[in-house]
Amino acid sequence: MNTWFTEIVRDANERLFSPAELDRIMAYYSSMPARLKAAEEIEVIDADFNRNLLVEMRKKFPNRELYSKRVILDLLDGLRVLAQALLMDEPQFLRDRWIFHLIRVIEESGIDPDHVRDVYVEMGNVLNHRLSASSRELMGPLLQELIESTSLVPSY
């Protein structure tokens, strides 16, 4: 996929940027320090994220088999994709790289989507607890989209 920035540069094709394009670029430019800070904060969480999440999920739902070490470790990849989407300010990247695939795996594997939703909700709780207010604000819409995507699959 092309990011919004690539699209603007390609469309402009050596002409001057339009006011709307300039506004978009400047808005992104001014949000860059906050985005970098959020990415740094996520990197710190990254270190002990999976161990804490695994303990928490097994404590809350001891009978659910889905929460294996591997699955929880995979969530770390999801967190990194979230951080990349946040850095690029490109929600479509999150959809293409993560959400569409997630929905398909849930559907085709016959997993209860609520079980997947719960683990992402817990991931959100960890992030809300550990990120600063500005980072939470940036991460919020992406995380919400990720959590809500699981409700696109019918429950069993």
Binding site: S68, R70, V71, L75, D77, W98, V105, S109
Partner: protein, 238 residues
């Protein structure tokens, strides 16, 4: 905790949507995937020219020649898919849950521009698998035909599912966009049953619908057989 031998459900996202999945070295003029496999894009002109050349050289046999080309292609693709999945998941494909493998296959099809693949396992119990490819390449190029034209994909699917099931399987195309259908549809099963169905399809004046072909195949299906599922792929032992 899942049992150690239970198929693994994994959530690692779409490997093929990684921004660096296809990397082109402009100095070397080579495009490679993360596993180092070299890939090249074939233009519509090439594919149509290739098909015309095979028709010219082989006459009526061109369908089976194209299907065999697809088989060869599928065999190589399955090998690459296995290697890349093993690298990505740190697990062999056979250890992954069928849903994960199907999702990854569909991702791979989409990323390579071969269309959107969906797999229907509802008749898996009787050793029949159904596959649908929307926006498939060949029908879009051939545009109009009185018979299905997706022979390359038919061979590729036969090879792919043979690889995943570990038993010889064949495929037949039942519907095709070049015949006015909305997508290419295929039936995959044991070579004898598929050959019998293909022969019957050949004798029909007007191409029957996918459902008619499926019913014909199921009508001939030996339901009281022992079935094994490997990555959600039917392997029937008689």
């Amino acid at each position: 905790m899942p049992a150690p031998n239970e198929p693994q459900v994994r959530f690692k996202g779409n490997l093929f949507a990684r921004p660096d999945y296809f990397t082109t070295d402009v100095m070397l003029g080579a495009t490679r995937t993360p596993s180092g496999s070299r890939v090249c894009a074939l233009t519509s002109d090439f594919l149509l020219g290739f098909r015309d050349a095979v028709i010219y050289e082989c006459g009526d046999a061109y369908r089976s020649v194209m299907k065999n080309c697809g088989r060869r292609w599928g065999k190589e693709f399955a090998r690459r898919f296995d290697k890349e999945m093993a690298g990505f998941y740190q697990s062999a494909v056979k250890d992954l849950a069928a849903g994960v493998v199907h999702a990854c296959l569909a991702d791979a099809f989409a990323a390579h521009g071969w269309g959107t693949l969906s797999i229907d396992l509802s008749e898996c119990e009787v050793g029949v698998l159904q596959a649908t490819i929307s926006n498939s390449v060949m029908p879009a190029l051939v545009m109009e035909s009185d018979r299905p034209s997706d022979h390359l994909m038919c061979g590729l699917l036969a090879s792919l599912f043979t690889h995943f099931s570990g038993t010889e399987l064949d495929a037949v195309q039942t519907e095709c966009a070049s015949c006015g259908a909305s997508a290419s549809r295929f039936l995959v099963g044991s070579p004898t049953r598929i050959a019998a169905l293909a022969e019957w399809l050949e004798t029909q004046e007007k191409s029957p619908s996918h459902e008619v072909a499926l019913n014909r195949l199921l009508g001939n299906s030996p339901r009281k057989t022992e079935h094994h599922h490997h990555n959600g792929v039917p392997t029937t032992t008689h």
